[in-house]
């Protein structure tokens, strides 16, 4: 299969030697949504040795506008994203070993999956998982690449343990924004642009071209024609609890995780963020209005009727998801609305 990768080995920074390295590497992809499907496709077409792809969700109609591995048939069959991704990726490149894991990417699962992994690609939709990835990356000394987007806006950062600052150095606390793809919308080109950055960084790391790795925080807005690279070298914080000298990996510890509890005798799950928030409920209600969901509110809470669930959000960030007893589903709904 040398012909297959000929255009990539012709590119001097990869070459034949780089291609052989790519073929021996194992990439762990967290998330198989918009970024996940696109990043996975680039990795598999590039001939990575092994790809493990983790996702807890199934395919819905509203995914098709930007999630490039999936078709209408996958929606009708309500396939889990990881399983549908695996099927398509095998048809694209049968030489790559692909493992689909249909599960919530909890710290415990990450710790288990990461054993022989060379690189973690972040394609998740929430900061809780990203902060866990960040701690896992430091704990096991594995590079990871942050990527995220909303609307026409996106960003990427490459984190090399022992060399660059980590995401926790840059974000002292987990931001809860009330601005996700489910509330602010998303256009596919913004997804593609983040993938371009993440996948290029991934190839640099897989061929071990460390000098080429980007040392800036990249962000862009394709509709507003903005693009910027921020130097982050001096952000490295020796007191950081994730990458500093007295590290504790706080986001791997239970007390810092989102709490989900089935309420006794009711078809309801309570979701509670690790720290109390101060949400702007009036702003959130405007975003829900745009989504077209029936909604009621008062200064203390907001109640939103989605298809088969009713979600009640309190201004401290706590939420009740009525109409389900499934903890992972409740957490997924929460993250989709509150990021």
């Amino acid at each position: 299969m040398t012909e297959r990768y000929s255009r990539q080995t012709l590119f001097p920074p990869i070459g034949q030697a780089g291609q052989e390295k790519i073929g021996m590497k194992h990439v762990l992809m967290i998330g198989a949504g918009a970024l996940g499907s696109g990043n996975a496709e680039v990795m598999v077409r590039a001939g990575v040795g092994k790809l493990t792809i983790v996702d807890r969700d199934y395919i819905e109609e509203s995914n098709l506008q930007r999630q490039q591995l999936y078709t209408e048939e996958d929606v009708y069959e309500k396939l889990p994203k990881a399983a549908a991704a695996e099927k398509r990726l095998r048809a694209i490149n049968s030489n790559v070993t692909i493992r689909a894991v249909i599960a919530d990417a909890t710290p415990d699962l990450l710790d288990e999956l990461v054993q022989d992994v060379d690189l973690i690609l972040d394609s998740t939709d929430n900061f809780e998982t990203r902060m866990a990835i960040n701690d896992i990356s430091q704990k096991h000394h594995i590079p990871w690449i942050y990527g995220a987007c909303v609307g026409s806006f996106g960003m990427s950062l490459t984190i090399i343990p022992g060399k660059t600052p980590c995401l926790h150095c840059l974000l002292k606390k987990i931001p809860i924004q009330g601005m996700t793809c489910d509330t602010g919308g998303i256009i596919a080109p913004a997804v593609q642009m983040v993938i371009a950055h993440q996948a290029a960084e991934a190839l640099k790391i897989l061929v071990e071209d460390w000098d080429a790795v980007r040392t800036t925080f990249t962000s862009f807005d394709l509709w507003r024609n903005q693009y910027t690279n921020i130097k982050i070298t001096k952000a490295k914080d020796e007191g950081c609890l994730s990458c500093g000298e007295a590290r504790t990996y706080p986001f791997l510890q239970n007390e810092n995780l989102m709490k989900t509890t089935v309420l006794c005798g009711r078809d309801t799950v309570q979701v509670r963020p690790p720290t109390k928030q101060n949400l702007d409920l009036s702003h959130l209600s405007k975003q829900m209005q745009l989504l077209g969901y029936p909604m009621k509110g008062n200064p203390y809470l907001l109640s939103v009727d989605m298809e088969s669930q009713r979600i009640v959000i309190f201004n401290d960030g706590r939420a009740l998801i009525h109409g389900t007893k499934d903890l992972a589903q409740a957490k997924a709904i929460y993250n989709r609305l509150l990021g």
């Binding site: 998330g31 949504g33 918009a34 970024l35 996940g36 972040d122 394609s123 998740t124 939709d125 929430n126 900061f127 990203r130 990527g147 995220a148 987007c149 909303v150 609307g151 806006f153 996106g154 960003m155 840059l170 974000l171 931001p175 924004q177 601005m179 996700t180 793809c181 602010g184 998303i186 983040v194 925080f217 962000s219 807005d221 507003r224 903005q226 910027t228 690279n229 921020i230 130097k231 982050i232 001096k234 952000a235 702007d280 702003h283 993250n335 990021g339």
Partner: protein, 77 residues
């Protein structure tokens, strides 16, 4: 004077891409609080801040002529 740049949805909240004010002497946290109040912005405190294209902490002091950019971290994917 100092140029302040607003990225992504911060631009919409501010109503424009950039403003020019005199921010010299303020630290980043003070500048955020000041701009948030002046322009009714609710999401500025969680934004990343860059001074002259370099990452800045809340305690960093703005100098005359510095350009300050506010970039909101997002979680979609």
């Amino acid at each position: 004077m100092n140029k302040l740049l607003f990225f992504a949805h911060l631009k919409d909240e501010a109503g424009k891409e950039s403003i020019t004010i005199d921010a010299a002497g303020k630290n980043v946290a003070e500048l955020k609080a000041f701009v948030a109040e002046q322009h009714g912005m609710t999401k500025l405190d969680s934004a990343m801040t860059a001074i002259n294209e370099e990452f800045a902490e809340d305690s960093d002091i703005i100098q005359e002529g510095d350009t300050i950019a506010f970039i909101p971290p997002v979680s979609g994917g």
